[in-house]
């Protein structure tokens, strides 16, 4: 693994949601009603026992509180920072029905999990070695969650990662005002400290080793390769001008290296999803004077979270709705603007609506390319609509092959990857031990 550069651009960001101190956590935790069969737990894909961990804050059993969180979700630290809690746990808090602000579950979880990291608490013991080996492709949240559970159950895990850093998009994609790369890497260290998990960096599975080689050398394989790189607009003239970037590629650059935006006056972000909204936030934070989101549909239909877009508007974002680019225009080899056209509600271009939008930076946030189609070369594995097809347990249909996370769900959130990775680990464990009910893990 490479070392993180100290002068990464992302380090100039600070937390959008400020962490709680003990007093704030106590006040907030004591607001929790401690509901029976609470909707917040149903809303959490990893089903953390939220009222219990909060109750344990109020009784000052902080170690037990952390154990409650991590026993359900080993990525509890990053989830506390990156989960869209407004739409998950907190969004379902019964207090909102009374018009009372919901419990700030994310910040409470962050308080407890940060404390666990600071104090170096450990919660897990490995079961006796099973002498079974599992390969995991990709080191993102899905694989980490899966590997941790497998290691806990006594299996040996080898994670193959093509990049120099582990953590997948948790390291390279999350908006730096939510979480920065060093936190993601600390989480990887914390997770792998259970033992029995090796990460091999710079290894692109499919090339070397091949899928067949992997299958021959391991007792099971988990695919956690995500949704792949940015989609591009290669058919548009000028797509290769300097200043045209994939949004994820750009975000990765600012998180892991540094970007110089001092010459950028006008930036556009193409797309209406969360990556687009994140990119708008990031550009505005970094001082770009004009940032415009260009989306082919209307505001009501954007996939990016409304609460995040509202915040971007406060920072000064602009938007062009029902608009698509038709060409990138340059001065020399540098981008200077986009030719755009308005669309009607059926997304058809409206004749005569052409405009020129000045831009010296354009980020394409129009989605990822989808799960790697190479997996379909293996009999029994299907890749459909950009997803590897799996059953509820993460089984692909080919004996010994499982998958989870973004490569199976079209690209959701970290917490879904964590949940699916763990579910798949249970299925893999049953496959390896031939024991359908076995669940021999221990935790403190």
């Amino acid at each position: 693994m490479d070392k993180l550069a100290p002068d990464r651009t992302e380090t100039c960001f600070s937390d959008l949601k400020k962490p709680f101190n003990l007093n704030q956590a106590m006040v907030e935790a004591n607001r929790c009603l401690y509901c029976h069969e609470p909707p917040c737990v149903d809303a959490c894909p990893t089903r953390i026992d939220i009222p219990t961990f909060i109750r344990k804050i109020t009784t000052e059993n902080l170690h037990g509180s952390a154990a409650t969180i991590f026993s359900a979700n080993v990525l509890g630290m990053s989830c506390a920072r990156v989960c869209p809690v407004e739409l998950l746990c907190s969004g379902s808090c019964v207090l909102t029905k009374e018009g009372i602000p919901p419990i700030r579950i994310g910040l409470l979880q962050r308080f407890v999990t940060d404390l666990a990291y600071q104090r170096g608490w450990s919660f897990f013991q490995r079961a006796r070695p099973s002498h079974r080996k599992v390969a995991l492709i990709g080191s993102g949240p899905a694989s980490l969650s899966c590997a941790h559970r497998l290691a806990q159950l006594g299996h040996e895990c080898v994670i193959y990662e093509k990049r120099p850093f582990p953590g997948g998009l948790n390291t390279s994609g999350i908006a730096p005002y939510k979480m920065q790369a060093h936190d993601s890497l600390a989480e990887v260290d914390w997770i792998t400290s259970i033992g029995g998990i090796t990460i091999r960096h710079g290894v692109q599975v499919g090339r070397d080793p091949t899928l067949q080689e992997l299958e021959a050398n391991f007792d099971a394989v988990f695919i956690g390769t995500g949704q792949g790189p940015d989609r591009r607009l290669d058919k548009l003239p000028g797509h290769d001008l300097e200043g045209v970037w994939g949004a994820m590629q750009f975000i990765e650059e600012l998180k892991l290296a540094s970007v110089d935006l001092s010459q950028v006056r006008n930036a556009v972000v193409l797309g209406g999803g969360n990556t687009a909204v994140d990119a708008v936030h990031e550009l505005l934070h970094l001082g770009v004077p004009g940032v415009t989101m260009i989306y082919r549909r209307g505001k009501q239909l954007m996939k990016g979270y409304a609460h995040e877009w509202e915040k971007a508007l406060h920072l000064g974002a602009a938007a062009l709705w029902f608009t698509v680019p038709t060409a990138f225009v340059g001065q020399g080899c540098r981008l200077s603007g986009l030719k755009c056209v308005s669309t009607d509600s059926a997304l058809k271009p409206i004749a005569g609506s052409e405009t020129m939008v000045p831009a010296d930076l354009a980020l394409l946030a129009i989605g990822q390319q989808g799960a790697d189609p190479m997996f379909a070369e293996l009999d029994g594995i299907r890749v459909q609509g950009g997803n590897i097809v799996v059953d509820q347990q993460g089984f692909t249909g080919r004996r010994g092959w499982y998958a989870g996370g973004d490569c199976t769900n079209g690209g959701k959130e970290v917490v879904f990857a964590a949940a699916q990775g763990r579910t798949a680990a249970q299925a893999i464990h049953r496959h390896l031990t031939g024991n359908p009910a076995s669940n021999g893990a221990q935790h403190a």
């Binding site: 003990l22 004591n30 219990t52 009784t59 059993n61 170690h63």
Partner: protein, 423 residues
Amino acid sequence: MPDLTANCAGIVSPNPFWLASGPPTNSGDQVMRAFDLGWGGAVWKTLGDPIQNVSSRFGALNHNGVRIIGFNNNELITDRSFQTNLAEITQVKKLYPRNAVVVSLMLDTREEWRDAITRAIDAGADGLELNFGCPHGMCERGMGSAVGQEPSVNQEITSWATEISSVPVLVKLTPNVSDITPHGLASQAGGAHGVSLINTVKSVIGVDLERFTPIPAVGHTGTNGGYCGPAVRPIALHMVGTLAREPRFKLPISGIGGISTWKHALEFMLLGASTVQVCTAAMHYGFRIVEDMIDGMERYMRSHGFQTLDQLIGKAVGNFVEWGELDINFESVARIDPQRCIGCQLCYLACRDGSHDCIEPATDGSRVPTVEEGECVGCNLCSLVCPVPGCVTMHQVDNGFQPTSWNEHLMLEKPIRHKKGVH
């Protein structure tokens, strides 16, 4: 892994957490559900001649938006028949042989007591608890706290029970007395194997300002009830500690009153209780709270190096002394951490109006007050009202005087420090 096995007067349970006699232990279904969730024992809802209750029966003291800091009830003993209860006790013991089932009893004549005790033991009771504590309804009938308030009656009825019981007998004491000691000693003289305390405190929880009745109103009238829940914990701790440090008192104690967390349980146990009992908290939050009680207690024991409960029970008793034995030369002063202070000035106001007026408000607009340490009497008030943990802290100062108690000063004429804050 610490061992939580508890033993109170020979009644053994997998952990020290018992449900107190009350609504949560009214039936076998409830007790079994509680055992499934981890409760170590249960004291059955008091058996006796089945009664009829009034409606409604409970009231709560809420404070600043926090619900049920205190609770009050005028519920009597069980309204279910003896046979029904005993059959369920037998069934529970059969299915949960490791958990402690203690049968609480309240009867009138010696014959009734004898008969009830025999039947309860036959049904499988691991122990008996004599309810000498109920402060409403039953005492007017010459039972409950009417017994517990009169040491000679307490001793006599206790001896009726201990004469024939083949299982340990706990006497449940009432807090509605001025000094608990003679009552504990009376139970001991009557042959009890242990005591449990406290039962509820006589109280009126509130008055309805529109209907002019005590709360809870039963139609157009209200009555006194028994106070319990978090607010009574200090009273209970005092009574438990008082018996535990009494040299003549030798019996084990089951501590009750306002317990809802592992920390509360530890407080009772450090002051001498072998097991603890919970009623109101289980009524408020359900049986599930025991998970954190066990979890928190285990983690505490592990982090403090205790392997068994015996190693911690009573650890604070020796430090619980009379006022006259306190070190009167010990001196502390308050200090305010300007980094943490949020400028509410509650400490300034509290000291000015409620103590010795030795906190100065800021003159530089920072709103951070300062303590005049030469005047501070070390009363703690400012640190108690401060809303920020760790902001106002108390610090020991060396005044050059040797540690001396008031008693030593009187008897041995040891020198004591000068009074502070007296003008």
